[in-house]
Amino acid sequence: MEKNTALKDTILFVGFAAVVLCLPIILEPIGANYPDLLQKIAIFGIFAIGFNILFGLTGYLSFGHAAFIGVGSYMTLWSFKLLTMNVVPAIIFSVMLAGVFAYLIGYVSLRRSGIYFSILTLAFAQMCYSLAYSVLTPITNGETGLQTRAIRTNPETSLLDADLRVIDQAFGVQEVGVPTTNFFGMAMSGYTGFYFCAVLLIICFFIAQRLTRSNFGMMLKAIKSNQNRLNYTGIHTRPYLIAAFVISGMYAGLAGSLMAATDPIAGAERMQWTASGEVVLMTILGGVGTLVGPVLGAGLIKYAEQKVSSWNEGILENFFSFLPETLQHLMTNIGSLFVGEGWHTTLGLMFMIIVIFLPGGIMEGIQRIANIFKRKSGDNSKGASAPQPAE
């Protein structure tokens, strides 16, 4: 049995890695094989996987994880501005700083559970957002966002408008205009940027998988199932919760850092509650507590945001051009309710449909389809998909 699980895990991991690395080919038919969307899918995949370590395993629903995205992004930008355009130090510092923030916020917020915990995390994140947008402008450059600049020539220029990059300067790097971010010379934009993110996504997936299968992961699941009982079993649950919170915060910090690494700008709006809500939706949409689900959810939402929003009426009219003209107009009108500027409607409907018909998210849908095929191939001796009786 134990070998069976290990084998299944290995297959899952290898399959996941293969699919991620082949995404540019797999997504070609739906027109999603361009670097930015691929990068976003990988980055938000990391975010969602990390979020799932907290929410999926312990059941603690944080509404403030966007704060760590912001922390990671700002730290990365400052590393670019002060040290070097190489992403390695930026990522390391960002993940560490996000971890520190997560520890502080988690330490306080985890004194409460349930919706009280959710509101505490929300409150902290909203405070970070509001301050970053206004009072902390000297660090965050407010609404405009922090960007990389040319090397400072006049010492009186604010560091927001000019950079130092001491490491790069020490190595005598010649810069023309504003340089691009790199990983030892490999540019972080375009497909290289995607592969960089993809490799990190696979590593993050691996770590999450190991965590889930470890004793630590089992304790987290036990916390979700019955935290009180676990206390009487001799486990002090708080350190476990804080650890889970910090780990998922570091995942978020990494995601934030990668956002800034592939696209060197950091804005406060990344920390708004809607951004925290987005990752909650991704996780639930894909399937809470599953390993692959959150990544699927992330991909789906990013696809909707990027592609569905771009299907304007012209594209719709082309799409329905095979119809007679009146019908074409009618269909275009109906269609435009759901795509283009109406893409939010599609998103809202998708949430509702999935949660009504597939409570376990997309992963449950996949499971059901798989079960149908299993049954067709004759393996229906066991009622594997029999619903669990309610309490």
């Binding site: 929410f55 629903l61 306080v108 004194r111 409460r112 559970s113 349930g114 919706i115 009280y116 509101i119 505490l120 929300l122 409150a123 902290f124 909203q126 405070m127 509001s130 301050l131 947008y133 206004s134 009072v135 902390l136 509650w273 809607t274 809500g277 909650v280 939706l281 639930i284 949409l285 809470v288 309710l337 109406g342 939010h344 409607t345 998103l347 809202g348 409907l349 998708m350 949430f351 509702m352 999935i354 949660v355 009504i356 409570p359 309610a390």
Partner: protein
């Protein structure tokens, strides 16, 4: 002194709005056990009831006036209101002037229908589902509702005028013996009284009717009420309808203060959750108390003297209060043990 007095008025006014939204939210939490992320959308729908009524009262037909020109230089098509034709100019003007107060009736009926349909059609299937599912489905619904509103009314705010008689500012200073600088808009005073009346009405309803008794018992202990064999499902529908109506009329009456736009529900959503949690989940009194408390604190935090002392405080005061309250009082101001803690 003047400034402080006015900030208290501001706080009461804001607090009234917060309390009205939070009231329905906490009622639904407490009795149905549902985390309703679409509650903000109900508030927004109520506000658009006022807009819709105003539009209905000024439905018109076109008449070409060859003497005037429109912006393209073509003969102007004048809009003639049907209401004017039917009822005469005076009555029509009167009705249009009072469209916001009239919209309370319209909003109450419309929102009751919306609430009942929503509960029967969707919410009731989610009583036993995890909170996360409830959040996702109601959030999805909120998005769909607000996109529909945007489709018909556009994205820009649509101001609604208060009736002429209460459109100016009252010389409140003269009433309480303060200076002439203490003036306050009539409509805001009306709104405060209105919210107090609604809050009082809801409490009286829950306190003095048998129906209210059952609902309160349900908030105490849902299982027991179920065991009593009372037709609790039907009661739940009514409770949800009530919450929708309260949110709706609160929204309709708020339109002269804040020109409604399709996104206002989302803007109020987070705030109303903070209010409910600070008050204590499922506690009606707590929601009202927290609503007024946060309203007044927010007003004071915006004063320049305070802002100079603590920069940025006006931006974060609500959340800061939420953190402090939750850390010192584990279940909010008036919350009970065991509600929504899993």
């Amino acid at each position: 002194m003047d400034a402080i007095f006015l900030q208290v008025l501001n706080g009461l006014d804001k607090g009234g709005a917060y309390a009205l939204i939070a009231l329905g939210l906490t009622l639904v939490f407490g009795t149905l056990g549902v985390v309703n992320f679409a509650h903000g959308a109900l508030f927004m729908l109520g506000a658009f009831c006022a807009v819709a009524l105003e539009r209905m009262l000024s439905v018109s037909y076109e008449r070409i006036n060859p003497d005037k020109q429109d912006f393209l230089g073509n003969p102007l098509k004048e809009q003639i209101s049907y209401l004017v034709d039917w009822l005469g100019a005076d009555t029509a003007a009167f009705l249009q002037d009072y469209s916001v107060p009239l919209s309370i009736l319209f909003a109450a009926i419309f929102m009751a229908i919306v609430g009942i349909v929503m509960e029967r059609g969707l919410i009731k299937h989610f009583y036993k589902r995890p909170h996360a599912d409830q959040i996702l489905v109601t959030f999805g619904l909120a998005i769909v509702v607000q996109e529909l509103v945007r489709h018909y009314f556009g994205a820009n705010p649509i101001p609604q005028a208060a009736p002429d008689i209460v459109s100016g500012a009252a010389n409140v200073g003269a009433w309480v013996g303060l200076g002439d600088n203490v003036i306050y808009p009539w409509w805001r005073l009306v709104y405060f009284l209105f919210s107090a009346a609604i809050i009082f009405g809801v409490f009286a309803f829950l306190q003095f009717t048998t129906f209210g008794m059952v609902v309160r018992a349900g908030m105490q202990d849902r299982e027991t009420v179920g065991l009593l064999g009372i037709n609790i499902e039907q009661k739940f529908t009514v409770v949800f309808g009530l919450a929708a109506v309260v949110a709706g009329v609160a929204g309709a009456m708020y339109t002269p203060v804040l020109p409604p736009d399709y996104h206002m529900g989302m803007d109020f959503l987070v705030l109303s959750f903070v209010v409910v949690v600070v008050g204590g989940m499922g506690s009606l009194g707590g929601a009202v108390l927290a609503g007024f408390l946060l309203g007044i604190l927010q007003s004071f935090a915006s004063m320049q003297a305070v802002q100079e002392l603590i920069p940025g405080i006006s931006q974060i005061i609500i959340y800061l209060v939420a953190v402090i309250v939750l850390l010192t009082l584990p279940r909010g101001l008036m919350g009970r043990k065991g509600v929504m803690e899993d």
